[in-house]
Subunit: 154 residues, 2 copies
DNA sequence: TATGTAAATGAAAGTCATTTTCATTATCTC
DNA sequence: GAGATAATGAAAATGACTTTCATTTACATA
């Protein structure tokens, strides 16, 4: 009896199709990056994605990861998250649902937050002559685990 | 009859006092950086600030600008704005009033936005076990001037 | 007002994430 | 299957920012 297919595989197919439709070629490297990205728990840096994707395609170069991530972002399949340190994190857009991030300043965990309340700010921008096309909102703080640890340390 | 003093000068004095109180020494370079920063129309990068401060103190090094900006941020006299690509802009905290930014993707102009509506997000974070201590919100788009230019170009 | 000391400076060198170059390889169209 | 051209990877380049270290300077103290 075959093991059931991993739940992300059908999505992988769809993403590859979207890439191909956009004029990109499908390579083993790109599949590896996509699968690595799908397997990450939260938004991650290029190095981390490289490390994981190498388990699938060992000779994968970091440069290719950067290029693939760039293409994914350009085609709307992935998006970036900017943390305080200036490094860029990437995450797949599973569902295209708009969301923001909660970043733990202690352990670096990144949680999704589906709520968004920038409507009034966009209007305020419009009143100032701006056409707002995008926004970026990150909340920083401490997750439950880290707060507990801190309390124990005291 | 003497010309009236520039309006930012008394503030300069206060800022220097705050720096000194925090254990820093007052140097011609730091005065130049502070005055340059006060004269910038909006949040600017270290290079721009360096260029302007050099008009006051020509032998000023870029390294000193970075160091001074760092100290100003640490002492709460200035704050940073993160651009889309991770580059850092600096601005004085005139009044300490909390605000966000409108960043023009075409000319790089940064406008202030006094509105803030992250309260609901903080609550959503709390519901997820997070203690939110800070946030960062930037709106990206096109300012009136750049939109007009774009229209002309067509 | 002199002086010692630690902070500040600037030039050059170093980081480090990300990008570019370019020769080679591989995909996909015909 | 062949050819065009996109993709790859290694190495070098970039660019914003930081560190190092010898020299200068501010400012507390004598």
């Amino acid at each position: 009896m075959p093991r059931s297919r991993a739940p992300s595989e059908p999505r992988l197919e769809g993403r590859l199709r979207r890439l191909r439709t956009a004029g990109h070629r499908i390579t083993a490297q790109r599949k590896a990056v996509l699968r690595a990205l799908a397997g990450m728990g939260c938004a991650c840096g290029a190095e981390d994605i490289h490390a994981r994707a190498r388990r699938i395609y060992p000779r994968l170069g970091l440069v290719t990861v950067y290029r693939t991530l760039g293409a994914l972002v350009r085609e709307g399949l992935a998006q970036t998250v900017q943390l305080d340190d200036g490094r860029i994190r990437y995450e797949l857009r599973d569902d295209g649902r708009h969301h923001h991030h909660l970043v733990c300043l202690s352990c670096g965990a990144i949680a999704r937050l589906e709520t968004c309340a920038v409507g009034p700010l966009q209007q305020a921008g419009r009143r100032r002559g701006f056409t707002v096309t995008a926004h970026r909102l990150e909340l920083f703080g401490y997750c439950g685990d880290c707060r507990s640890l801190e309390r124990e340390a005291r």
